[in-house]
Symmetry: C2
Subunit: 231 residues, 2 copies
């Protein structure tokens, strides 16, 4: 599964802390998206993660869990993402939480199913930006340097440019991707229409569509075919 993510162009991100009806979930899972990522910045628990997984598991679409809370690690996903925030001065978000989680799970950690994500968080007003103290005042060269580190220094499978809640600067995304050959660039933030999906898919390897699922399902679904145009 870790290798399969290299072919992902479009993923939907579902938040266990938000409500989604059965029909909407059916349309998301049958949309042709390459995968479902389950994750959120707040309110993620074991119970709401289990519940969402059991519903997503009725479909064949691959399901990955982005671990934001070590208490909410639910078995049964195809893949587990471990987010590492690269642009913060708070070591807690780079190695601290991770070390405590690894210590707790110790021998049980299924490393073959785990994939590190090197995050650069660029919206200071987002929940994740505030929570992690991300240093967001970065230009294209700054982000490109982080991309090089993700690929060469940490050899992470995913470099994740996160504008969470706003549509970002595609020039920054494009220049970061130009640094990468093995590591895949995920872009997330503000993709709420077919047009933005196409723009983002042209700049990034994989686009992540989240909030719009809960705001306007039809527009969310339109991002899937639009991605094929952009890619």
């Amino acid at each position: 599964m870790k290798n399969e993510l290299k072919s992902w162009k479009h993923v939907f991100k579902l938040d266990p802390d938000r409500e989604i009806g059965d029909e909407a979930l059916d349309r998301i899972c049958m949309s042709g998206t390459d995968a479902i990522i389950v994750g959120g910045s707040s309110g993620v628990t074991y119970d709401n993660t289990v519940e969402l997984l059991s519903r997503v598991r009725q479909y064949t679409v691959p399901a990955a869990l982005e671990i934001s809370n070590e208490e909410a690690v639910v078995p049964g996903f195809d893949l587990y993402f471990i987010p590492i925030v690269m642009n913060t001065s708070q070591g807690e978000w780079i190695t601290g939480h991770h070390q405590r989680a690894v210590k707790e799970f110790s021998h049980m950690t299924p490393w073959d199913e785990m994939a590190a994500q090197g995050y650069v968080v660029l919206n200071p007003d987002s929940t994740v930006g505030k929570l992690t103290g991300a240093q967001t005042n970065l230009d294209a060269k700054d982000v490109a340097a982080y991309a090089q580190m993700a690929e060469h220094l940490f050899r992470m499978p995913v470099f994740y440019v996160e504008y969470s809640g706003t549509f970002g600067d595609m020039d920054i995304v494009r220049k970061a991707r130009a640094q990468l050959s093995e590591t895949r660039l995920f872009y997330g933030g503000g993709i709420d229409s077919a047009e933005k999906a196409e723009l983002a898919a042209e700049a990034a390897d994989t686009i992540v569509v989240g909030n719009i699922i809960y705001e306007d399902l039809e527009r969310a679904l339109e991002t899937v075919p639009a991605t094929r145009n952009g890619a």
Copy 2:
């Protein structure tokens, strides 16, 4: 050269900020050690690094530079180590300095010659411990968790247990090494005799001998054959 380090059992670490005579340097370089690492926690400059490299280069022993100061990156080494302190809350020492250095060198970075070292610093009174704000109150399970992260999450070639100035707990070292298969465990700190070299070589993959070179050359040289016994 990055692959060659997998066969290193013993290395000498030379500090560009400390004096070493020609005869002493000759005996160190001809000792049968597997490599010379050039590096130090303070006072490392471009000039003193160039000077030391030019003297070491008269010998065939491989020479690596451990980059502690981006102003002192001298070309001509066989390998460049990039230290990343894992057990600190100060993001500067995990990703911060590194990002600025990569941004500055940008396209010129010879990634094939670079190797990340995941450091766990365990002596709070050492220069490096104070400088980096290392959280040193760790047990064997804590260090083993960092070892797993170095291998699986960051895929670093080297995991470096650093007791800088004191001889460490070999039980901690042994349990950390037990977690590793691809990543190599370097041990440094307080190896000032053949006996300690043998103990450390039994617990670690590679032992690093530093300070004693400047304090008692004969004892430093005795660590080389002793390592073959321990390994």
